[in-house]
């Protein structure tokens, strides 16, 4: 079994603070903790996009930040850039650009992406320089730590940690399996 081992619960379910694709009352729930500088997350990104397209309105997908900044020095700033874009209603567009340009995540690069997305670039720069979203990113990290995030990407399917990696088939199968009730299976 690939998906063996403990499956700790997502301690903070998706809510209004989160960046979510799909309807809030969707039957299926997928949450990713990711890092814009992590090569595995970049590889998972198009797979997640396929899953979102495939399940349509049946699925809500939430992305939370988990920058491992000691090994990925630009990851934390990139996460804050996504939040700064979110403040101007362009989270997912920035999210896609950051993964597409994973090797170019210095502040000047981020400002270029903000310009491409037609954001208010001076505001975007000011907010990043002021660290306005540092706490927001750290909230994601702490929620991940308390939920058993053990690297990136870590996925939660129906609010339980998924240990089976990020291949399309594995994630689709897990999503297709109905959520188990809280009582353990007999």
């Amino acid at each position: 079994m690939i998906n063996s081992g403990p499956t700790p619960p997502l301690t903070m379910p998706l809510g209004t603070r989160d960046h979510v694709l799909g309807p809030p009352d969707a039957r299926l729930v997928l949450v990713e903790y990711g890092d814009y500088q992590c090569p595995h997350c970049r590889r998972a990104h198009p797979i997640v996009r396929q899953i979102v397209a495939r399940f349509g309105d049946q699925l809500k997908f939430g992305f939370r930040h988990f920058p491992l900044s000691k090994i990925h020095p630009q990851a934390r700033l990139a996460a804050q850039a996504a939040e700064a874009a979110a403040a101007q209603e362009k989270f997912w567009q920035m999210h896609d650009l950051l993964f597409r340009h994973q090797d170019e995540l210095e502040l000047d690069h981020l400002a270029q992406y903000a310009a491409v997305l037609e954001l208010d670039v001076p505001r975007f720069r000011d907010e990043l320089n002021a660290g306005l979203y540092a706490r927001r990113v750290q909230e994601d990290v702490v929620s991940g730590l308390r939920s058993g995030v053990n690297g990136t990407p870590t996925f939660y399917v129906h609010n339980k940690r998924f240990n089976g990696g990020y291949e399309l088939d594995a994630l689709v199968n897990a999503l297709d399996t109905p959520p188990t009730p809280d009582t353990p299976p007999t």
Binding site: S4, G5, P6, P8, T11, D35, C38, P39, H40, L68, S69, K70, I71, H72, V141, V142, L145, R146, S147, G148, V149, N150, G151, T152, N163
Partner: protein, 161 residues
């Protein structure tokens, strides 16, 4: 099967066996010198695991979370001190790594956390209170990075007392 019986590792309530191991070439650390603060012992199979965001990188990243509890986190494997030094430098690790190197795996054995078939420490975690008593222990399947939630919950429990 990768499941290992957790009955083998030392359980909560046990006094943590004292040890003196190298932290880096020529420098030793004695566990009992850390009395007065919580200690987290993280036994792990080997340096140089091939994934990014592995267990130690994760703990290294969140050292400030452990420091909030005044806890000292120690990684332990059978790799020698020069290996640890190279590994720490390469991975940009700030956390302390101990070498259970000679006699090989002796401390890991004392904690019931040695895989004698493969000659490596198991992926086992012990949270010790300020008196050196084991308060929480956990043996993870060797291929599964256990994350930090269990450690943080145990430290929180200690702080509440």
């Amino acid at each position: 099967m990768e499941n290992v019986s957790s009955s083998s590792i030392l359980s909560p309530g046990t006094v943590a066996p004292d040890f003196c191991l190298a932290t880096e070439p020529g420098k030793l650390l004695r566990l009992s010198d850390l009395r007065g603060q919580p200690v987290v012992l993280v036994f792990y199979p080997a340096d140089w695991s091939p994934v990014c965001g592995d267990q130690l990188s994760l703990y290294n990243e969140i050292l400030p979370e452990f420091e909030r509890f005044n806890a000292h986190l120690l990684g332990i494997s059978v790799d020698g001190p020069f290996c640890h030094a190279a590994y720490r430098q390469h991975r940009n690790l700030d956390l302390t790594l101990l070498s259970d190197f000679e006699p090989k795996g002796a401390v890991s054995r004392q904690y019931g956390a040695y895989d004698s078939k493969n000659g490596i420490s198991q992926r086992a975690i012990f949270v010790l209170d300020d008196k050196g008593i084991i308060r929480w222990s956990y043996l993870s399947p060797i291929s599964i990075n256990p994350g930090a939630d269990g450690i943080l919950a145990a430290l929180e429990e200690l702080q509440r007392e």
